[in-house]
């Protein structure tokens, strides 16, 4: 059932991808802020991975000290603006709000956070101080949330920071990977620009690190190196027919969508394989791009999906259909995708079993694989003594974020295998402090 018409203009695209958390106006923010109880030892602070002093910034919004509110936010989280809209607040701060226990809607913390920082960014308020130069240099690989957070924190500590970015734009998944109804490109880039103007780190674009020579140069030129490289392309499923035209990874699909908007053509019938949040995003996006039928296919039961319930609900509300307990066994078609052959699965004594006697084909024109991303293993191979475990997830010290090679620190998806922007923002900040601790020892 298609809820959305194919967007053919940027305006139509914006309509289909209306922001889930639109910017509050002054009155809305004032009234919403007035509801905050200013809890003692507030559960929202504990639930925030970056431990923003939420009751304080809400009080500051309410007392018309929006700049102060922004300072409170950025003080804990360098991506405070983006996190206000991209964070899964339902399961973090807002999920912890005590109002939930009273069947009263929780405070809209994310939107308030975004409101304050947005105002401060638009007013170009100078609120950060670069630390006195200590003559030391840090290289950051990747300008995603982890890298940006590390760069910002390092600048306040007096380091020179150069960020090496493989792509043309900064901010990683905020621009390339988050669903467009959560944040716009303009908003994501605006925050980076604001931070960069005040803190003065440099970003070298189109500068992928791919060779041993580059690594050696970085190691010679910089006192410490931060790996904020995230994850790689969508992992292969090793399915028969996976190389057919019309099979795409979710990450690649979303990136193309974020760059091309209404100019991306999504065909009539789409199958999305996977049960995580990225699968929900891809399915929802496909439906919003006007696909007549989008089917979400997951190998286990609904209860076992990795996705948050609200993300699933959002996909369903966009008109997505779902199939549970089905596993793809082949992509069918003649050069181009014509469908996915599934087999039913069932849980037998705690193990998921595929029933090859119960096989069927779902016809489609596009298959989106949202079944996990490959790790940046080839980069890690270039670095000596880097412990990337068996699954290419970097092992770091939990407090300093230092890797097994002392010159390297890491954070974000590279160390957690794929999590939220807010986790990456926290890691980057803490890693900069870890670097500082190590270099001043």
């Amino acid at each position: 059932m298609a809820e959305y018409k194919r967007p053919t203009t940027e305006a139509a695209f914006k309509q289909n991808f209306k922001q889930k958390k639109p910017l509050m106006n002054d009155t809305e923010a004032y009234y919403e802020a007035s509801r905050c109880l200013f809890c003692y030892d507030a559960p929202c602070i504990q639930a925030c991975p970056t431990h923003i002093d939420i009751p304080l910034f809400i009080k500051q919004i309410h007392t018309d000290n929006v700049t102060g509110a922004s300072k409170t936010i950025f003080d804990s989280n360098w991506l405070g603006n983006a996190c206000g809209v991209v964070c899964p607040t339902d399961v973090l701060c807002e999920g912890a709000c005590v109002y939930n226990h009273q069947d009263v809607p929780p405070i809209q913390i994310g939107r308030l956070q975004n409101f304050a920082t947005n105002k401060t960014i638009d007013a170009e308020k100078d609120i950060f101080k670069v630390g006195n130069s200590n003559g030391k240099r840090i290289a950051v690989i990747g300008s995603g949330p982890a890298g940006i957070a590390c760069a910002c924190e390092a600048r306040t500590l007096g380091y020179e920071v150069d960020i090496f970015e493989a792509k043309e734009l900064p901010s990683g998944l905020n621009v390339h990977g988050v669903a467009p109804y959560k944040i716009t490109n303009e908003e994501a880039l605006k925050e980076i620009d604001y931070l960069q103007k005040q803190l003065g780190f440099t970003i070298k674009y189109n500068s992928a690190i791919t060779s041993k020579e580059q690594i050696q140069k970085l190691e010679n030129d910089y006192d410490a190196i931060f790996l904020g490289v995230g994850l790689g392309k969508t992992a292969t499923l090793n399915l028969e027919g996976e190389d057919k035209k019309g099979v795409i990874g979710a990450v690649e699909f979303i990136e193309e969508l974020r760059m091309k908007h209404h100019q991306l053509k999504v065909p009539k019938r789409v199958v999305v394989i996977g049960g995580g949040n990225t699968a929900m995003d891809a399915a929802s996006e496909s439906a919003r791009m006007g696909a007549r039928k989008t089917v979400l296919a997951y190998r286990n039961s609904k209860d076992n999906m990795g996705a948050y319930g609200f993300e699933y609900d959002l996909a369903i509300s966009a008109g997505v259909d779902s199939l549970f307990n089905v596993t793809p066994i082949a992509i069918v078609g003649n050069g181009t995708v014509e469908g996915v052959k599934f087999a039913k699965t069932e849980m037998v004594e705690g193990t998921l079993k595929t029933n090859m006697n119960n096989v069927f084909i779902v016809r489609c024109d596009l298959v989106i694989k949202a079944t996990g991303q490959a790790k940046q293993g080839s980069l890690y191979d270039l670095i000596d003594n880097l412990d990337a475990g068996t699954n290419a997830i970097l092992n770091v010290n939990a407090e300093t974020f230092q890797t097994s090679n002392p010159q390297y620190f890491a954070g974000g998806d590279a160390i957690n295998g794929g999590s939220e922007v807010v986790n990456a923002a926290y890691d980057g900040k803490m890693a900069a402090q870890g670097i500082h601790q190590w270099l001043t020892k």
């Binding site: 004032y30 009234y31 007035s34 509801r35 109880l37 200013f38 809890c39 003692y40 030892d41 559960p43 309410h62 005590v98 109002y99 226990h101 009273q102």
Partner: protein, 442 residues
């Protein structure tokens, strides 16, 4: 059968809801509209000497999401020609003969008082209210609160007015005075038929942080205004109580004014002895329509309590408002938290720990956010139950069996005045006080 009509010191009105003398009673148009909406009476915006007004006249105190919980103004008495006002009073009376129109008056000399009384009587006013309260502008010219603050002068003017008037006289008092009973008694001694109070309180509602001027700002400067609205109700009720408990003053009826907005406010004022109420700020905020809520609520209250007229319960709270020395020192209440209702905000804990008596503890288990009461330290102050955002989650439970009764007054009479700190509920005796350095541990 509920009958809301009143006879207030000779002024009859279909109900006790009157508009106070203020901007809502500035014209016949407004008063007619109010009577249509259900108001029983209106005290016309003060008539008197010619004035000029300034532009920018009102300021407000907003609290959290509540606008205008306090309100002030620097507007003067009517600036419309006396003849226009008199003609309109006459016209309104024609349409609403059974409603009460009271002319608020403020002039200076005896001759002026005599003349203006004649004028409003000829226009058909049902009564006169003497404005001895206005705390801005007019007082600088020796009128308004300048009179209300000088009981002797007040008494003299009441005498002049009573001598000249054929209709009932209400004396409106200023709260800008140490003892409200002083002008109250002077008014009664001067022969007033009734009293109304409070007029507005001298105030500064806020300072603009760019121009450093008080609100409302008139070309970069401001002046003290008259404060009113919900915020002043507690002050008004206290003054009402002082008059209503006074043996001489209470012989005349009292019209209650000050922050009245809802039926509950109305009932509270009546319970403290008022037999008419006057409203201004609530109408300036919401319009005349709010009287619907007041009347419906008052009727509902009277129905549930089986009262036929407001006189059945007027002053019923007065015997319970006493001096501190007559309170039972043996009465003991202790807070109780209902864990099923608690939402874990821990405001009770922090308010008690930082702001009161360190009688609430947090659980050692950090996943359990339901605090507990340390009964030996709870003095029954109520603070936790006041800050708790959940209705009926924290209740104050009586712990004494009600058989013992001793008051400070009784102890004094028995010569049982403590010479040492012997209160069981005080710090160090039946009550644990943390060491100063314990504050540094967390």
């Amino acid at each position: 059968m509920i009958d809301l009509s009143i006879n207030f010191g000779g002024i009859k009105s279909p109900n006790p809801f009157w508009l106070a003398s203020a901007p809502p009673t500035n014209s016949g148009y407004q008063v007619m509209k109010a009577f249509e909406a259900g108001w029983g009476g209106a005290v016309w915006k003060t008539l008197g000497v010619p004035v000029v007004n300034v532009s920018s006249r009102y300021g407000a105190v907003n609290y959290r999401n509540t606008r205008m919980m306090g309100f002030n103004n620097i507007e003067l008495i009517t600036d419309r020609p006396l003849a226009d006002n008199l003609r309109e009073i006459e016209e309104v009376k024609k349409y609403f003969p059974d409603h009460a129109i009271i002319a608020s008056l403020m002039v200076e000399s005896r001759a002026e008082w005599e003349q203006i009384i004649k004028d409003v009587e000829n226009a058909g006013a049902d009564g006169i209210e003497l404005n001895f309260g206005c705390p801005h502008g007019m007082c600088e010219r020796g009128m308004g609160s300048a009179v209300g603050q000088e009981p002797e002068v007040l008494k003299t003017i009441v005498e002049w007015v009573k001598e000249a008037a054929n209709i009932p006289v209400i004396t409106k008092l200023s709260p800008n005075i140490s003892h409200i009973t002083d002008p109250g008694l002077a008014a009664v001694q001067g022969g007033t038929d009734s009293i109304s109070l409070i007029n507005t309180i001298k105030s500064i509602v806020g300072i603009d942080l760019d121009s450093y001027a008080p609100y409302p700002i008139v070309d970069g400067k401001g002046s003290n205004g008259g404060y009113c609205g919900p915020a002043v109700k507690p002050i008004a009720m206290h003054m009402l109580k002082d008059l209503a408990q006074h043996p001489e003053i209470s012989k005349v009826p009292i019209s209650g004014i000050g922050g009245i907005e809802t039926w509950r406010d109305v009932v509270e004022f009546i319970l403290l002895g008022a037999t008419s109420v006057q409203v201004c700020t609530a109408v300036m905020h919401y319009g005349f329509g709010i009287v619907r809520e007041m009347e419906a609520g008052l009727r509902q209250f009277m129905e549930e309590k089986n009262y036929n007229t407001i006189y059945d319960f007027a002053g019923k709270a007065l015997p319970n408002v006493t001096e501190w020395k007559h309170l039972n020192l043996k009465h003991k209440v202790v807070a109780e938290i209902n864990p099923d209702k608690c939402i874990g905000c821990e405001l009770c804990y922090i308010s008690c720990d930082d702001g009161a008596h360190q009688a609430i503890a947090l659980s050692d288990d950090i996943t359990n956010r339901i605090p507990s009461i340390i009964e030996e330290n709870c003095v029954g102050c109520n603070l936790c139950s006041l800050v708790c955002p959940v209705e009926d989650c924290i209740t104050m439970v009586q712990k004494d069996d009600g058989t013992e009764h001793i008051t400070w007054n009784e102890r004094t009479l028995n010569d049982d005045i403590p010479t040492t700190f012997d209160d069981d509920r005080a710090g160090g005796k039946g009550h644990f006080v943390p060491k100063p350095t314990d504050a540094l541990k967390s």
